[in-house]
Amino acid sequence: MDNVADKVASATPPSIAHRVKGLSDRAIAWIFVAPTIFILLAINIFPLIWTVYLSFTNYAVNRPNREVKFIGLRNYERILGDADTWATMQATAHFLIWTIVLQVLIGFTLAYLINKKFKGNDLWTTIIVFPMMLSPAVVGNFWTFLYQPQIGLFNYVISFVTGADPSSFSMIGDIALAPWAIVIVDTWMWTPFVMLICLAGLRSIPDSIYEAAECDRASKWRQFWTITIPMVLPFLMLAVLFRGIENFKMFDLVVQLTGGGPGNLTTLTSIDLKREAFEKWRTGFASAYAVILFVTVFGLASIYVKALNRVKQR
């Protein structure tokens, strides 16, 4: 009986078979891989190199006839000496750190609870995962209603808990509260994602390990710190990597929610970059900005992936 390779060979039209005949396996492999490499070069590598080139020029995309001058490191000097850009980086750091901390803590706790067998387990999982299924634009839009001082449900809940007047504070208008408003919404939306990854980690731990620990009379607390946490850690680190990269380039949710305000208080780097590139049309400047962000994310991801591999090898 013919094997699959023979069947494929006999089904190949003679004209194609004639052309392919005589090519080495390596050449055929290159023929298959070449389109992918070409697409990668065209849509990933070339734009990257072009952005680096533009970052050294005064190019403005809305002035195609203006002479493009090489201005050296001036764009980088302007960005890295600008107090507004510095404030934007701080706003991004605040958003990034707090969203990750809260999402990991709440996500892991939810996963730990959901992992226990109880009635309605699947229903609760579906309900918790629901926010993640919504579009960020929709979430941003309806949270602006929830945050309304006069009619917002969020303000009423806070006033019910604290006794404060609901119209006495505005989450997206107050300079002290606005950075927390975007943290709360992102945490509400993306905690289920972290929960799902942690749940996968928790369910991958064999029961036999806990049974062995029970035999050794290890307490629940000790089992948690010496079995559960070390075995879920690679999954947790992956969740942090995904959320970290996603939140570093957060745009739609925050634009819809606060528009970067009040003032520039919730203007994250991606929003600032978009304004420089497509509102002020300073393409060279925006390219330098993008290069700085790229190097930062690339560097962080490199050390993070290395740490992740080390944890996996343990």
């Binding site: 000496g81 107090a83 930062t296």
Partner: protein, 62 residues
């Protein structure tokens, strides 16, 4: 500690990756800290040096 410096002199990957990682982390902290503008100004060059170093030293022998 002396092992670490020996590994650096013998161009071993682990030690050099550690140096590169510290530079990257330092650069990112300098970029996002809210205290001194000068640190922000020099953050990119520190991160860039760390990142390029990380790419190079990851090809060193173990």
């Amino acid at each position: 500690m002396s092992n670490f410096f020996n590994d650096l002199l013998r161009l071993r990957r682990g030690a050099w990756e550690m140096v590169a990682s510290i530079l990257i982390a330092l650069g990112v902290i300098m970029l996002m800290q809210p205290f001194v503008l000068t640190l922000f100004t020099y953050s990119f060059i520190v991160t860039l040096v760390g990142t390029v170093m990380f790419i190079i030293v990851s090809h060193f022998p173990e």
